[in-house]
């Protein structure tokens, strides 16, 4: 293991803290250019320690500066060259926040390829550069910017004081509203950084199964709400594994439930049902009514996904009964909403609208933005099914306004898709194609399950407007050329439709 540094004691000269000595020696001996890495998993500690080091260096006649990257900075060299005032030779630069440009789910992100490519040019800065990064980002950098990494003069680790760490873990995992769906995309990303940092810190210590499980569970919830489903599934599976290791039945139920949820997202209904039933079993054994109601609710969604509307209604009504007994308004609104979807699937638009309006009323009273957006979206679908396209558009736009403010990509995808279908119903194929491109380009993967039938609609609309229109629209809306994978998918779909001698009819999104 590398040398571990503990968070500095505020009473002590930071440069004399034994754990910091190796880094201090490096910075006071180097002349000109050098690269060092400081692993720190907790952002707030990273900033504090870097600031203390700079103060200490200055007291010893060396200069240092903190460089905070507030946004994902792909061009680190350009950023450093553009510092105001410019960094003089020899000034130690502590760079914080570069991990924002290193998303863990993206291999070889542009920031790392640029870093690797521009290695020689960093030398021109003629100063010591200390990149302060959490473990995951540092590991990724070592693999994906190997030439830059090869020039390192030191790798140092900061470990959080145990007591402080425990308090932080407790703060972020304590039961509370915790409704990640209502956080903006930026807040979600920030919260994810905190959770991952704490997790990495606990993992480095190799203890705290229960806390680690809880953090994985939170990360799974957050990632799911961000549309990063494979990562969410992996995190939920890890949470379940740790809960089992710790023998924590309540955590087993929660993690199992979340894992089932993400398997349902990717369409594995059998695995999802099994997971919910296990979760229900644990909930019943523990007398945990919230867990029971949530399991009923999700089992209803599985039944609905299978097209078994009677079973779905049954499960939703059972869930509603428990939520009412608990006085859980959020739960009640969710049940109303799902009952609305059952009625809508049956073609009973009046009943569906009734349920959605009841859900909306509660959502508005609670200020639950995700719920409000979902209700407007489905009220739009009801209006569209009735042929009232003006009302439908009005409701979709209300829904979209909230979804865009929250930045939740799976939710945005559903409304973009519906606006595409609406434009098509109005006889505006160009606008329909645009909305559909917006839908499918929300995720780097294509096709992404959260975009539902969007990719198929894209192919069908290309059949109507032509490949040139698709290429032009893609270029205009994304700034990039149409990827080969998308072009191939569209060509295959069109060939299939041609073989079947008839274009596939548009289907409404669930």
């Amino acid at each position: 293991m590398s040398r571990r540094l503990r968070a500095a004691d505020p009473e002590q000269d930071p440069l004399e803290a034994p754990e910091l000595v190796p880094l201090v020696r490096l910075l006071t001996r180097v002349e000109g250019f050098a690269i060092a890495f400081l692993e720190c998993n907790v952002p707030v500690s990273a900033e504090r320690i870097a600031s203390e080091l700079i103060r200490g260096l200055e007291a010893r006649g060396r200069r240092g500066r903190l460089v905070r990257l507030e946004e994902a900075e792909e061009n680190l060299l350009g950023h450093l060259r553009g510092l105001t005032p410019p960094a003089p030779p020899g000034e130690a630069l502590f760079v914080l926040g570069f991990e924002r440009a290193i998303p863990s789910q993206v291999a070889f992100p542009p920031a790392l390829t640029r870093l690797n490519r521009a290695r020689e040019q960093f030398r021109e800065l003629a100063l010591p550069l200390i990149l302060v990064l959490p473990r995951y980002a540092l590991d990724q950098l070592s693999r994906e910017a190997p030439d830059f990494w090869a020039w390192r003069s030191g790798v140092f680790e900061v470990r959080e004081e145990e007591e402080h760490l425990e308090r932080m873990v407790h703060d972020v995992t304590r039961p509370g509203p915790g409704d990640y769906g209502n956080l903006s995309a930026v807040r979600k990303r920030e919260h994810l950084e905190v959770l991952r940092g704490l997790l990495a810190e606990l993992e480095a210590r190799g203890d705290g199964e229960r806390a680690r499980g809880e953090l994985h569970y939170r990360i799974a919830r957050l990632l799911r709400s961000m549309g990063q489903w494979p990562e969410a599934e992996a995190a939920a599976a890890k949470a379940l594994e740790l809960a089992r290791e710790a023998g924590d039945r309540r955590a087993i139920a929660a993690a199992g439930h979340k894992l089932a949820w993400v398997t349902q997202d990717r369409g594995d209904l059998e695995a999802a049902e099994e997971g919910y039933r296990k979760s229900l079993e644990v909930g019943e054994a523990l007398g945990d009514k919230t867990c029971i109601a949530a399991s009923y609710h999700q089992l209803g969604m599985v039944a609905q996904d299978r097209g078994d509307l009677a079973a779905a209604e049954d499960w939703y009504r059972k869930a509603l009964e428990v939520f009412e007994a608990l006085g859980s308004k959020t739960g009640i609104a969710s049940s109303y909403h799902q009952l609305g979807r059952v009625a809508q699937d049956r073609g009973d638009l009046a009943t569906a609208e009734d349920w959605y309006r009841k859900a909306l009323e509660i959502d508005e009273a609670l200020g639950d933005k995700t719920g409000i957006a979902a209700s407007y979206h489905h009220l739009g679908m009801v209006a569209q099914a009735r042929g009232d396209l003006e009302a439908a558009e009005d409701r979709y736009r209300k829904s979209l306004e909230i979804k865009e403010a929250l930045g939740n990509r799976p939710d945005k995808a559903s409304t973009y898709g519906q606006l595409g279908l609406l434009a098509e119903a109005r006889g505006e194929p160009a606008a329909a194609l645009d909305w559909t491109i917006r839908c499918v380009t929300l995720f780097p993967e294509f096709p992404h399950p959260a975009t539902g039938p969007g990719p198929q609609h894209l192919a069908r609309l290309t059949g109507i407007s032509g490949k040139d229109a698709l290429e032009a629209g893609w270029q205009r809306l994304t700034g990039g050329a149409l990827p080969a994978a998308v072009a191939d998918f569209v060509a295959r779909q069109l060939a299939r439709a041609e073989d079947a001698s008839e274009p596939s009819p548009p289907t409404a999104r669930a």
Partner: protein, 443 residues
């Protein structure tokens, strides 16, 4: 700074892992005998150039940080001393190595030849340059929306006087290539359609350059292309990768330039399934292996190679003052015979001492840190494969093993026979120890 260093500060700055040694640097130590039969790559490159009646393109490969640039700078000096005109191309400065295609490389070579001739005060037939320029401008500038760029270039030509328009346009192209803008893609597409023309015209220029240098009393022109081995390894999704396309599928383009070249290629390419195809295009290949520090089978210390590394350190830091004996041994053991890793380890060790010498304990801590670094960079699915490499001391010609060579978790040695071994720092990681135990159980 006085060398070998006797103070800690001088010692620290003498062991910079980021700096290749310039030719003639007093710190240089000839590691040929420690690298084995293949270690005299510089000598062989030089010999083949001097013997061959036809222009020869030789490939030069070695691990990242094994001393390629230092050796190529030495080759440059040797060739120059022998009367050759050498153009040293730093691909890292001229190209976007994350996204390099054959037209970029050809134009970088043309640009560097032109620049080197001008710097040496040599000239080629101006009509040739004008022809190249007009063709290039027609292909790249006039056919599409780049008229404004042309106007800019031309107006710059009017005001900048001393720098010829050709050089300006080449510099502009180099800028497009390195900045990764939309222009780059468009220009490249246009050039790709005219690649045979580019090659013919480039060849004419190079021929003219060879005449010019001979007229100046030199034996011939030699291009040394360094850092092209750093071109990114990208899976193109159809069973091919970016390096194979550049060096194997399109390798003939490099050969078609009509002058002696020594070109660095990724070492992993020599272990790829396409190695036979590569050999068909480039029969002259040289590999710069690690310095052998241990015997192959027994893994017992091999004094001859180790002494060279002792000398390498002694040229930088006075060994009497700088190291406890055990410290130097530990650092050399953990380096795997990789010169840059040895420098990195020494730098790490400095962090654990107040003053010279580096103690055995500090060396141990430095080694621990390198081991930990490797713990970060090795993918989980490599452990079982690495265990097999450890037992077999060889690698397969597949993508995983190519990646291991690329990431330096496996090193290549040659000394009489040729073999690979897991980096000594990786061998200390518990994951590998577990994987080796599992492998033995399953055997």
């Amino acid at each position: 700074m006085e060398l070998p260093a006797t103070t800690l500060k001088d010692a620290f700055n003498a062991c910079d892992p980021t700096q290749p040694l310039p030719a003639g640097d007093q710190r240089y130590v000839d590691l040929t005998s420690g690298r084995g039969d293949e270690g005299g790559a510089v000598g062989r490159c030089h010999k083949r150039i001097s013997l061959s009646a036809q222009p020869l393109v030789q490939l030069f490969a070695g691990h990242r940080g094994c001393g390629k640039s230092t050796e190529l700078r030495r080759l440059q000096r040797k060739l120059e001393d022998d009367g050759y005109f050498v153009v040293y191309v730093e691909a890292e400065s001229d190209l976007d190595l994350e996204d390099t295609e054959p037209p970029d490389v050809l134009l970088a070579l043309v640009r560097n030849v032109d620049r080197a001739l001008r710097e040496a005060g040599l000239t080629v037939d101006s009509k040739l340059l004008d022809d190249f320029l007009l063709w290039f401008a027609e292909v790249v500038l006039e056919t599409t929306e780049h008229r404004e760029i042309e106007a800019e270039v031309r107006s710059e030509a009017k005001v900048s006087g001393g720098v010829p328009l050709f050089a300006q346009l080449m510099a502009r192209f180099s800028g497009w290539v390195r900045t990764g803008t939309t222009s780059k893609k468009q220009v490249r597409q246009k050039l790709e359609r005219q690649i045979s023309q580019l090659l013919i015209r480039g060849r004419l220029l190079v021929e003219a350059a060879r005449l010019a240098v001979r007229k100046d009393g030199k034996k011939d022109l030699v291009l040394i292309v360094d850092s092209l081995d750093r071109v990114a390894l990208k899976d193109l999704g159809d069973g091919r990768n970016s390096q194979e396309v550049l060096f194997v599928e399109r390798g003939e383009l490099l050969k078609g330039f009509g002058c002696h070249q020594v070109v660095t290629v990724p070492i992993s390419l020599l272990f790829s399934p396409k190695v036979a195809n590569l050999a068909a295009v480039f029969p002259d290949r040289h590999l710069l292996p690690m310095v052998k520090i241990a015997e192959r089978r027994t893994r017992e210390r091999w004094p001859e190679g180790r002494n060279l590394l002792v000398e390498l350190l002694a040229q930088r830091v006075d060994p009497e003052v700088g190291f406890e004996a055990a410290a130097m041994e530990r650092l050399i053991d953990a380096s795997g015979g990789h010169p840059r890793h040895l420098m990195t380890l020494v730098r790490y060790a400095f962090d654990f001492v107040e003053d010279l010498p580096i103690t055995g304990e500090a060396a141990q801590k430095a080694v621990r840190r390198l081991v930990n670094d490797y713990g970060r960079s090795i993918p989980k699915d490599h452990w079982a494969l690495l265990a097999a490499v450890y037992e077999r001391q060889g690698v397969e010609n597949d993508a995983d093993h190519q990646l291991m060579l690329f990431n330096l978790s496996v090193l290549e040695y040659q000394n009489r026979d040729r073999w690979c071994d897991v980096h000594p720092a990786v061998c200390r990681l518990p994951e590998l120890i577990e994987a080796r135990t599992a492998l033995r159980r399953s055997a």
